[in-house]
Symmetry: C2
Subunit: 603 residues, 2 copies
């Protein structure tokens, strides 16, 4: 066997001025929760700022990735200790799993194949089942620590409007358990994805973001596919959906899963369709079921299932401007029409639940009839499906399965809140996971922006996870820079939502960056930014010299006009004589001015 | 005299598939209101779509710009006909007007100097004075036609929430007059800027956007400075602020004004400070007054005046995270502290009004104490100044001066509405004009995005004009691409706001583009976009071949998975048998599914 060495194609190493730290558990002593701490200049006199870190070991300077081996199986012991799973000879890989790719076209299998686990007969191995049983799993304690980000040491500002969300001062493991038990949050973590660092999706926690990746039609290497996932998480993607189509779906997914520190979601229907050579009408329950097992054994953490698309809803889309824009939704609609019956997703939903229950695959109930244009938002078809998703939620919950609900799409600002309110009501507070929404249709090439507006707003109103949109949406496949732009844009939307909800401690990073700005600590300003590289690059384009990084002015105003410098002078005066004294001194100013002409009342 | 030929540095020519049209007036028969009409493919069977056009003659294929001559004086006759102005020998240009630039460093004077106009003694020549007198000026009829965009021929959707704004089905000249008379809208149009195509700023009209430009410290040519303005208006800037500092301020501004089809705003304090060599304490009312006259004679359409910063408010900023971030505000604060008295802006406000009244320069009452960080939003200092701006509004109105109010800045989402509501209340419904606001501080390099979220929201709530923010905000000076990105981003925010307010006809462009998307009319999709070039470029990066522009699928799904194609199949079926029949046929589907396990009620 050849030795596996580090793959240079994978981006590693810390972000600027950042250290990886690990916070130990208290209930469970073998958990180590990763965070990133950003240091500031000693003159700031500030402790390092902890920030949420979705990047996994790749940003740990001690870690050397060997993608042929995959990440350490962090959760293997936790899963084993529960004693409710068994190892078995998994399903054999078949030619159709990889779209019949052969020879040079076939991406190699991941070398270190593990036998899959499943629940022992009759057991539910979901975090929901454990939560309902009163268990605080290591996963739950992990996310509690992760969500807090040491917030106990940060002065917390609580002036947001959370629209009914309950954001505790401190997230305790018991709070996490309660939220999962109530179905208000999910902890997507397939027992066959032990490499995963647990995270939680629910409106009483930080707003999360998802990035979509997928194999290109042109051949791409394992390194490239793994790197797409690593790159997206480096900039902040909390989960990644693998939306690959075509050849090599199975093998590529294995490489991604074995190297992914974040939950991986898929739309199993895409692979099932490949297995029937793209003919929607040829899909069967058997093919679909086989695909679910295949993916569950690999460790996929959540499945998008478009079971809410029902036969009688299809005609509701005929009068729309853009019909059905969800790929999954349209495949199912076509199948339903052709066979003149309800889909196997709907009819066999309880069997799908049985599979999810045995591996802890979370549901992401797909919105197959989401609006694809402003004109179609909040229409009969969309809300009819949402009601069905609410019914399916109860069925899944009855089977101890974790559920979140997918949402739109294209929605003008004034119709966004109705989406959130209806979702909470119809789906019994199961977490909402939306794509944007885009607030106008007229800006292809800028749909990361049209959608960041809607995403920030729906995040504020209570949406738990925001699926990113890249600048290439509607036009082409995102490249590396587009993925980064999409992720950073969505981190902005999610953070803006956290601030507006009043998440304790969320403002700490804004304050740290603003202090750096006010004190002309340029390096700190870059380092505290969501994207330090771009911030530094933009600054250097105008003032490239190193000396300017310590200049007490900036390129916009230059030294003469600097408003911040003047504020420092004012502050210095106040410090000299005391703020109160200063205020008193100037308070008399209030009566100085008597206008020559009295102000007449005007319209 | 040398013949003046077209300057190649100026961007001219129509946007793709666009024709310039001119709609004649009915009340005034010498007005021709420009619009852009975007044509679609004949297969669409749709009339050309009229869109708002701020680009002036530069996008008219008949027009050849000669920047040494300037644009035609469109409004000269209208102004003359009113018989209330007189021509006079204007103020002589002085060395300090151009920052003492000489020789090669001095930008040449604009060659075709016109004697300035001012009001004959005792007259107010403002659109507000005319509106109050019951006059419908040509400017008013111009903006009425411009705002309508032929909306009488567009099926108008009215499902927005306008938060108390009154958006009529059709904008009549009389409606425009009433809005101006009530102070709810301004029509910035200095009598010495006859080249301007009138536009209106008020919450009962389309939301507008402003782009800032300025000379760079490094020398730049007249063509370059004019081109900055032309470039910003080409992409949709409704007004342009010239925030130049340093040398050549006077001469550069003259070149811009003579060639500008949009209102030009300035912060006169910047030039006044140059005249006293950057020493704030040395500013005097005489220097400032002289600068106002200088700029009013040139034709500046609106002045930012920071008269709301009062002595007793300065100590309120001491405890802030980022102090005073407005340049004008900090200059005035420094002056007030040094002289221990109220500023000449505040004390001489009525004399400033007299100047504005004689030339119809609109006020943009500056928010010198706006928050520069999330932490400082909606604080005592900010709202104290806002109340003073409300008092000043009444004084200006009493002098027949037009007024808008500047607003923040950095504000988290949950505090935005309070800004709008307080502004309407304190400032008696004078139009609001905000910078963003940015909804988080943590993304330098992406502040066009952090602020587009806030801008869209405050536009929806009633803000009349949004000042753009470019990706370089806080970091450096925007280049050409940054200006375009900023303008397009703000067109998105403004349009999202118009949609959410329910502006009649606003959705027509979204619908046209979405129909093009659904029908795979790729060229139409590009042409209807805010930025056709970028949309086309992004598409070509994935599917470059010309044939793909007519392909009935796109790069994201490929031919097999195309959801839209499947929708077309469904639609075809409905057309064959009738939608009603189709709905009936599938309605029975509603009862097919009986879950094996009844759904238990869960938390």
């Amino acid at each position: 066997m050849t030795p596996h060495t580090a793959t240079p194609a994978i981006t590693t190493g810390p972000l600027p001025a950042s250290a990886k730290i690990y916070v130990p558990g208290a209930v469970h002593n073998d958990i180590r929760v990763p965070m990133r701490e950003i240091s500031t200049h000693p003159t700031a006199g500030e402790p390092p700022l902890p920030v949420y870190d979705s990047s996994g070991p790749y940003t740990d300077p001690e870690f050397v990735p060997v993608i042929h081996e995959g990440l350490p199986a962090l959760r293997a012991d936790w899963i084993a200790r529960r004693g409710d799973t068994e190892s078995y000879a998994g399903r054999e890989t078949r030619p159709e799993d990889n779209g019949f790719a052969r020879g040079d076209h076939l991406v190699p299998e991941f070398p270190a194949k593990r036998a899959p686990l499943k629940a022992v007969k009759g057991k539910a191995v979901t975090q929901l089942a454990y939560a309902r049983a009163g268990m605080i799993t290591p996963e739950m304690e992990f996310v509690a620590i992760r969500e807090n980000l040491k917030r106990e040491s940060v002065a917390s500002q609580r002036d947001g409007d959370a629209f009914g969300a309950t954001l505790p001062d401190i997230v305790t493991p018991e709070f996490v358990r309660q939220e999962i038990a109530a179905g208000r949050a999910i902890l997507p973590a397939n027992i066959n994805h032990p490499e995963l660092e647990p995270m939680i999706i629910g409106r009483n926690f930080r707003v999360k973001i998802n990035a979509n990746i997928g194999t290109s039609a042109v051949t791409s290497s394992m390194e490239e596919e793994v790197e797409k996932m690593v790159w997206a998480t480096r900039w902040g993607a909390d989960t990644v959906m693998d939306l690959s189509t075509g050849r090599n779906i199975h093998n590529t997914r294995e490489w991604i899963l074995r190297n992914s520190p974040v939950p991986i979601g898929t739309v199993p229907l895409y692979q099932a369709l490949e297995k029937v050579k793209g003919i929607a009408e040829d899909l069967t329950w058997d093919v679909f079921r086989d695909t679910l097992i295949e993916q569950a054994e690999q460790g996929v953490d959540y499945f998008t299932i478009h079971a809410g698309v029902r036969l009688h809803m299809v005609p509701m889309t005929v009068g729309r401007v853009t019909g059905i824009v969800s790929r999954g939704g349209s495949i199912i609609a076509k199948w339903c029409l052709h066979h003149h019956k309800e889909s196997f997703l709907y009819e066999r939903f309880d069997e799908i639940c049985d599979i999810c229950r045995a591996y802890d695959v979370s549901f992401s109930l797909g919105d197959g009839l989401r609006p694809g244009s402003i004109a179609d938002a909040n229409d009969e078809a969309q809300f009819a499906e949402l009601e069905t998703l609410g019914e399916l939620t109860k069925i899944a919950w009855a089977k101890d399965c974790q559920v979140m609900i997918e949402g739109p799409g294209h929605v003008a600002m004034h119709k966004i809140k109705e989406n959130m309110d209806k979702q909470l009501e119809c789906c019994h507070e199961a977490p909402f996971y939306t794509l944007g929404p885009l607030t106008t249709d007229i800006a292809p090439g800028y749909d990361h922006i049209t959608s960041s507006i809607g995403a920030a707003m729906i995040g504020w109103y209570g949406c738990a996870m925001l699926c990113y949109v890249t600048p290439k949406e509607h036009l082409g496949l995102p490249d590396r820079e587009d993925v980064k732009t999409g992720v950073v844009t969505y981190k902005i939307a999610a953070h803006a939502a956290d601030l507006a909800k009043g998440l304790p401690g969320a403002q700490a990073r804004d304050d740290a960056l603003s202090r750096a700005r006010f004190e002309f600590r340029w390096e700190d300003q870059f380092n505290l930014a969501l994207d330090p590289e771009t911030a530094r690059d933009f600054h250097d384009q105008t003032l490239p010299k190193e000396a300017h990084k310590v200049a007490h002015f900036c390129s916009m105003c230059g030294p003469k006009f600097c408003s911040m410098r003047i504020s420092h002078d004012i502050r210095a005066e106040a410090q000299k004589e005391g703020t109160e004294a200063m205020a008193m001194k100037y308070r008399t100013g209030g009566d100085l001015y008597m206008p020559v002409n009295g102000a007449a009342e005007q319209g």
